[in-house]
């Protein structure tokens, strides 16, 4: 999940929700998807 997100941000530094949805296909059985999306958006402000 981390690696996929890192790869996405390398290609698209400010991805939209739709772009995140398309790129992040990894499974989270604990259901943290909303927080993952938020974290990716947060990361774009820090990188």
């Amino acid at each position: 999940m981390m690696m996929t997100a890192a790869a996405l941000l390398r290609e698209k530094p400010k991805p939209s929700d739709a772009e995140i949805d398309k790129a992040i296909t990894n499974i989270c059985r604990c259901g943290t998807y909303t927080r993952i999306r938020e974290a990716i958006h947060l990361a774009t402000t820090k990188i």
Binding site: C30, G31, T32, Y33, T34, I36
Partner: protein, 719 residues
């Protein structure tokens, strides 16, 4: 511990050990410094009581009995201790008590399930914190020669109020640990809490982001071999023969270990043993169930719906008479399939059987059960067994009541006389689960002239978990727990009759997150929606009427409706469904908002869940647990079923047992309304309302009533 912490010698040792594939003993969670070299029970510091160790630098170690599987208990349980201890929370660390230490039950139950960890432990832990505090204060009073009443304690500092003198917990802990504990302690009123009830950062998060925690699958021991296993694909079958010669010369292959109903290949790497197992010719004695299929199971359940051998679980008033005189009678049949746990981390366990000791590393929900099973499998006294609970990559009930992975690993390790890490493949995991049971329901309800339900009759036919796992819990042949959430419910219906025709199949069953509430809420809440529709009532208003004399339940129902804006019109094309269900001592209501295209493509926009667990320890964890339970339930409702053909499970991986993905994730809003006065569980309560709220929303959207799951089977997709 952050990545910027100074590199102490211990930290360096552990980091490099992990980088080189070495072992992190025991804890597997943050606090790398104490993980290196220290095993549980030998942590340095003053042991103020069983639960609290205080080091001279004011580090506080709180011992923990329940397994952390992402549900946050590793942080929440220490919060309960520390609230009373009056310590500096920033210096608190958690550490597992071991099952071996707990052979005298001094740490109580280690079984982690049933949403029990906090509600079962809270009183004991709060008392431990209060007791520890009083001992520290008593020791300080002794040292200064002043009365205890002149002292206060806060943030690990004791102050003598009249003079302003202070001392730290670290300075006095050794002396305190020599005192007798007070015979009784007074606990804070919840209104006085300063730590409990406020969101705290979990101990394990920083490490998890950095990939540090050691899950069962990560464990590495020097000299370790890898094992993988094939169990008879037909339930109830046995191993007949295998041809070891055919794989003996394959690279990395060391041993083949037969085990009654399974065979394991042991070798130098997981890949090598997987290849070898796939190439190993195996003959199975398939046993009596080789022809079993879903049709036969359904036939048996259907027979149960009208059979005469059902046992009564609830009987109030005269349901038969009430139905006869009802203005309107509504009847329906519902059913649900077997479901798999599908933990992200497949079943695994590492074991080392030595002449004088057995050591086990397991992602287990129950350290005590793991120890007992390991001792039995190795044929040794339990006190010679050490169990390390690693981080769990999902439990959901799979890793609690059953320790099959422990038994197998120990058996193999004993046979090959080397440390062995047993790893199941995903396919093996999917096909050898202890499934959420299959069941069917026949419901009938009678409405009076005003549309009020006056009679409620339910017959369930289905497989009992308790009959297989804890038959001693059954009374006169009845597994009452199968009817949880149905036999007792807060809705006021004057005449109620619930009975159960137990129909057990050879398919192994177990506790799946929310257990029998998962199907019972679906039956009850969808059917109640049918009653509302049949009498032209709003489903929320009908529930308000049925809960009118139950203020706490009503408050939860209302909180969900308010958050969802139930009483204001939804945007065009958006439809809502509601479901109310109490479980594990907590009260909960779920509302789903969705749209459906004319091609039956579902888009779930939002799921609202309101809950009252009595008290909340870590509110952020409550949110994450409810979110997680909702996603678990939503995944099953949309996509999943386990089907049986030729006595085997047909599914094998996430292509035929799909998981929800990020793109399908709805917005989830959790409304916490803790009303106090009781302690309810949180881990599972968010799940039961999901499937019925989904189906009720789909009825609102399409007029189609759904009476079985998954929704995929009805032609619905959720992209």
């Amino acid at each position: 511990m952050t990545e910027h912490a100074p590199l102490t010698r211990r930290l360096f040792l552990v980091s490099s050990a992990v980088a080189g594939g070495g072992l992190m003993l025991g804890v597997g969670i943050s606090d790398l410094a104490s993980a290196a070299g220290d095993s549980e029970g030998s942590t340095p510091g003053a042991k103020v009581n069983n639960w609290v160790i205080i080091q001279s630098d004011n580090t506080i170690i709180v011992r923990i009995a329940r397994s952390e599987m992402g549900q946050g208990s590793f942080t929440a349980l220490p919060m309960l201790v520390c609230e009373e201890l009056e310590c500096d929370w920033s210096k608190v660390k958690g550490e597992y008590a071991s099952a071996t230490e707990n052979l005298d039950n001094s740490f109580g139950s280690m079984s982690t399930g049933g949403s029990r960890a906090i509600r079962e432990s809270q009183e004991m832990l709060r008392k431990a914190g209060a007791s520890g505090r009083e001992m520290l204060l008593a020791a300080a009073a002794q040292k200064w020669g002043v009365p205890r009443s002149e002292l206060t304690a806060k943030n690990s500092i004791i102050t003598h109020v009249p003079t302003g003198r202070t001392m730290t917990y670290g300075e006095i802990a050794e002396a305190a640990s020599k005192l007798a504990p007070p015979s009784e302690v007074k606990l804070k009123d919840p209104s006085e809490w300063t730590l409990v009830g406020k969101a705290q950062t979990r101990f394990d998060i920083a490490d998890k982001v950095m990939g540090r925690p050691v899950y069962g699958i990560d464990v590495r021991i020097p000299g370790m071999l890898y094992a993988t296993i094939a169990q008879c694909p037909v339930f109830g079958g046995k191993l007949k023969s295998y041809d070891e010669a055919k794989i003996k010369t394959m690279p990395g292959v060391r041993h083949v270990v037969p085990m009654g109903d399974a065979v394991a290949v042991v070798g130098d790497s997981y890949w090598q043993v997987r290849q070898a197992l796939a190439a190993l010719p195996i003959a199975w004695d398939e046993g009596p169930n080789a022809a079993l299929d879903d049709a036969a199971i359904a036939e048996m359940l259907r027979q149960g719906l009208t059979a005469n051998d059902a046992l009564v679980a609830a009987n109030e008033g005269d349901t038969k008479a009430a139905l006869a005189k009802s203005t309107k009678v509504i009847e329906a049949e519902y059913h649900v399939p077997f479901l798999a746990h599908a933990t992200m981390e497949p079943m695994n366990c590492t074991a080392h059987v030595m002449p004088d000791k057995v050591e086990v590393w397991a992602p287990s929900q129950n350290a005590q059960a793991a120890l007992a099973v390991a001792a039995k499998a190795a044929g040794v006294d339990p006190k010679n067994v050490e169990v390390h609970i690693t981080m769990l990559g999902g439990g959901f009930g799979r890793r609690g009541a059953f320790q099959d992975f422990v038994r197998q690993a120990v058996t193999i390790a004993k046979a090959v006389d080397k440390p062995v890490k047993l790893l199941w493949s995903r396919e093996e995991d999917m096909r050898h689960d202890f499934y959420r049971p299959v069941s069917m329901a026949k419901l009938a309800a009678g409405l009076d002239a005003s549309g009020h339900p006056i009679a409620w009759q339910i017959r369930i036919a289905g497989q009992s978990i308790v009959a297989a796992v804890r038959p001693q819990q059954m009374k006169n042949g009845l597994d009452q727990s199968f009817l949880e959430g149905l036999a007792e419910m807060p809705y006021e219906v004057e005449n109620r009759f619930v009975d159960y025709a137990m129909r057990n199949t050879p398919i192994p069953v177990g506790f799946w997150r929310s257990v029998n509430n998962s199907q019972n809420a679906f039956y009850k809440e969808c059917f109640l929606d049918e009653l509302a529709a049949a009498s032209g009532q709003d489903p929320y208003q009908l529930r308000r009427k049925l809960l009118q004399h139950h203020p706490k339940n009503l408050a939860v129902l209302d909180a969900a409706a308010k958050q969802a804006g139930w009483e204001t019109a939804a945007p065009a094309g958006v439809f809502r469904g509601i479901a109310y269900h109490d479980s594990y001592g907590s009260l909960a209501c779920g509302i789903v908002e969705l749209s459906v295209s004319d091609k039956n493509e579902i888009k779930v926009h939002r799921i609202v869940c309101a809950l009252d667990p009595g008290y909340v320890v870590n509110p952020d964890t409550v949110v994450t647990q409810v979110e997680g339970a909702i996603v678990y339930g939503l995944t099953a409702a949309l996509y999943d079923k386990i089907t049986i053909k030729n006595g085997r499970v047909e599914q094998s991986n996430f292509d035929d047992y799909p998981m929800l993905r990020l793109r399908t994730m709805p917005k989830i809003e959790v409304v916490q309304v803790p009303s106090g006065g009781f302690w309810g569980g949180v881990g599972e309560v968010g799940l039961p309302p999901v499937a019925p709220a989904m189906c009720n929303a789909l009825f609102a959207a399409t007029g189609k009533r759904i009476r079985s799951l998954p929704l995929k089977d009805h032609g619905f997709t959720a992209a």
